[in-house]
């Protein structure tokens, strides 16, 4: 063989992707293309790093505050109330109440509880509320949107399926969501699962509209007819052929929805309708701290800042994904 070994991407020159030995180079998956473009977006990458750190913190938080209690967020040390960050416990604290690191990294609150431990515990709550609530909203949204988009032209009596489902969606959009959540949460026992469910079933409308629009466009594509002509069932066509094609905008909006859900949970906890007090969330740490804004500013700066950073990170990752998954924007991002 006299073919010169020229590694690299000849596919871009419009030639078959061959390597030096004339062998076809394995294909680049769509996922890799998106990742390659996403990596160039520095803000989105920063967001992703923050989210990775948050995920780690949340897992560690769950581990160290509940299963292997290194940091007890509920320990009350009244002599040490409202201590600033990085202060050392006073001598009146007994050995059994001594904080793990020998100091209070984030200070203490009005009951002398370790804010660091409480923030750790809260990080898991925030993340899990965000993820679970958005999963619920995705399930409802994809189902409603998918049915409306795929079976929309079927008639149910005098209305089409599409009209029926989308008017229901319109009605759901028109509810003042936050007050609805407040009402429901006030009636239900205020535990974290109820909050997840309530946020989930009040935030699916955007997803439903996205998915419906995607499905309506995809339904008419030739490959759907081809799939039918091969004898594939509608369920298979919907879940295996249409869904992956519709996933890009859904994933983007889901990422941003997680930020919304975290904010909503924080707001609920702040108002006292959220997770019940001995259990810490960023929202109720903030709520407890608001009476001591001038005496103990760390009590609202730390949880408030944490909420801000996490919400911002989710939004940046969502924006980055949107750009990376849109081939028209991809060129700009790489140029």
């Amino acid at each position: 063989m006299t073919v010169p070994a020229t590694p690299g991407r000849r596919a871009e020159a419009g030639v078959l992707p061959l390597d030096g030995a004339g062998v076809l180079v394995p294909a680049e998956t769509p996922f890799r293309q998106v990742w390659r473009s996403f990596r160039k977006d520095r803000l989105a990458m920063a967001g992703l790093v923050v989210l990775a750190a948050l995920l780690m913190l949340a897992v560690l938080g769950k581990l160290f505050t509940e299963w292997w209690v290194l940091f007890d967020p509920a320990t009350v040390r009244l002599p040490d109330k409202l201590r600033p960050p990085f202060s050392i416990p006073s001598s009146s604290i007994g050995k059994e109440l001594w904080p793990t690191l020998g100091l209070y990294p984030f200070g203490t609150d009005e009951l002398g509880r370790n804010v660091f431990a409480r923030m750790l515990q809260g990080s898991f709550v925030s993340l899990s509320v965000g993820v679970v609530a958005v999963s619920i909203s995705l399930i409802i949204g994809i189902t409603v949107g998918g049915v409306a988009g795929f079976y929309g032209q079927r008639k149910l009596g005098f209305v089409s399926v599409d009209t029926l489902l989308m008017r229901v969606t319109d009605v759901a959009v028109c509810f003042p969501t936050f007050f609805l959540i407040l009402t429901v949460v006030a009636l239900l026992p205020p535990n974290i699962y109820n909050i997840m469910i309530v946020i989930g079933i009040t935030s699916w409308m955007g997803t439903a509209r996205f998915v419906r629009a995607e499905f309506m466009a995809l339904r008419e594509q030739d490959f759907v007819t081809a799939a039918r002509a091969l004898g594939l069932s509608e369920g298979r066509i919907i879940f295996r052929h249409l869904m992956p094609n519709a996933m890009a905008p859904v994933l983007v909006s889901a990422t941003i929805d997680v930020a919304h859900a975290i904010l909503t949970e924080s707001a609920l906890s702040f108002l006292g309708f959220g997770v019940r007090p001995p259990f810490a969330t960023w929202g109720n740490i903030l709520a407890d701290g608001r009476s001591y804004i001038f005496d103990a500013p760390w009590l609202f700066i730390l949880p408030g800042g944490a909420i801000l950073v996490v919400v911002l990170a989710f939004n940046l990752v969502g924006e980055g994904l949107r750009d990376a998954m849109n081939p028209k924007l991809r060129r700009r991002a790489s140029g």
Partner: protein, 336 residues
């Protein structure tokens, strides 16, 4: 040379097929009574210009229409396809009747590798395990002439050219060894050089698998090379049917003759190609009689008012034109 006589028990038998599409202006007929037989291992070409109902006829066989079949029967072997339930019909599609489409560029799912898409059909209809399906998919890709089939199987549709994609579509359509392959303008979207390759491939696959082919096309050159029997459609009806020799040498219907006259002939350097005057009538403004009468050179008294049936001309050759009606045809009109 088996083409002239339709076999005793046809594989596919369409009788009196009528298809209507509901529009804002009311119901519009797209197919107005089509009779067509396809024998086992026979190649039949359905020819006609755009909008004459060729594809609608094919889609009716697959029961993939957006319109409504208002009358007629479609028998496949001994089964009446219209009486089947949807799950029963799904077991016919892909397994017994394969279909190749006009647009290879958009007929493959962009987010699945081509190997996965072929495997899906195999696991569905033949209940193969996934590794067996993978091996079979690669075999199929090799059979349809795709080089480096193992690697190609893990590529996505956007990495293949149009001709390659059409080969993949053919591989999917024949994957379960169907008895009938419907090829709906399989070469229209391809380059001329690729067209010949694809038609050669279809021809050799037909020989190998012994399947019948219903070729839908408006390319008479393809028909001459590939088909045994030809049915010419005009405005939702078959106007002439016969063996390919009869159609090309002794075309009987004025429309078929006009179509053949419109073909460029490399030996005859005429300045202009023959064109058929006028245009296809709109489906909702069809005359009561022959739909071609407004454009026909030989139009005479019964044409606009009476619908011509298919009059036999020779064994296996018939045309829906009163020129061939022994009772009506005026003796002074040239039949040939």
């Amino acid at each position: 040379m088996s083409g002239a006589e339709p076999q005793a028990t046809p594989l596919l038998s369409i009788r009196g097929l009528r298809v209507d599409f509901a529009t804002d202006a009311g119901s519009v007929p797209a197919v107005r009574g089509v009779d067509l037989d396809i024998g086992i291992s026979e190649t039949v070409a359905l020819v006609g210009e755009s909008g004459c109902g060729k594809s609608v006829t094919a889609m009716s066989v697959m029961r993939l229409l957006t319109g409504r079949i208002s009358a007629g029967s479609i028998r496949f072997g001994n089964t009446e396809l219209q009486s089947l339930s949807e799950p029963e019909m799904r077991r016919i599609r892909g397994a017994q009747i394969g279909m190749v489409f006009q647009e290879p560029m958009t007929s493959l799912n962009p987010v699945l590798t081509i190997g996965k898409q072929i495997e899906e059909v195999l696991t569905l209809h033949q209940r193969l395990t996934s590794s067996a399906a993978r091996a079979h998919a690669v075999e199929l890709l090799k059979r349809v002439g795709i080089p480096s089939a193992e690697r190609r199987a893990s590529q996505y549709p956007h990495e293949l050219s149009g001709g390659m994609k059409q080969r993949v579509m053919i591989a999917m359509a024949i994957s379960c060894r169907p008895k009938l392959l419907i090829a709906d303008e399989p070469t229209t979207a391809l380059d001329v050089t690729i067209q010949a390759q694809i038609m050669d491939l279809l021809g050799s696959l037909q020989q190998e698998l012994g399947m019948a082919v219903l070729l839908i096309t408006h390319d008479l050159g393809v028909v001459a090379h590939f088909a045994e029997r030809v049915a010419v459609m005009y405005a939702g009806k078959i106007v002439e049917q016969g063996a390919v020799r009869d159609i090309f040498k002794r075309a009987a219907h004025p429309y078929t003759r006009a179509l053949l006259a419109a073909l460029p002939d490399p030996l005859r350097t005429a300045a202009r190609l023959e064109a058929i005057p006028g245009r296809v009538p709109l489906p909702r403004m069809l005359p009561a009689g022959c739909a071609f009468c407004a454009r026909c050179k030989h139009v005479f008294e019964p044409c606009p008012g009476v619908l011509p049936e298919l009059f036999p001309i020779a064994p296996g050759h018939s045309a829906a034109c009163f020129l061939h009606d022994p009772r009506r045809a005026p003796s002074n009109v040239p039949c040939q």
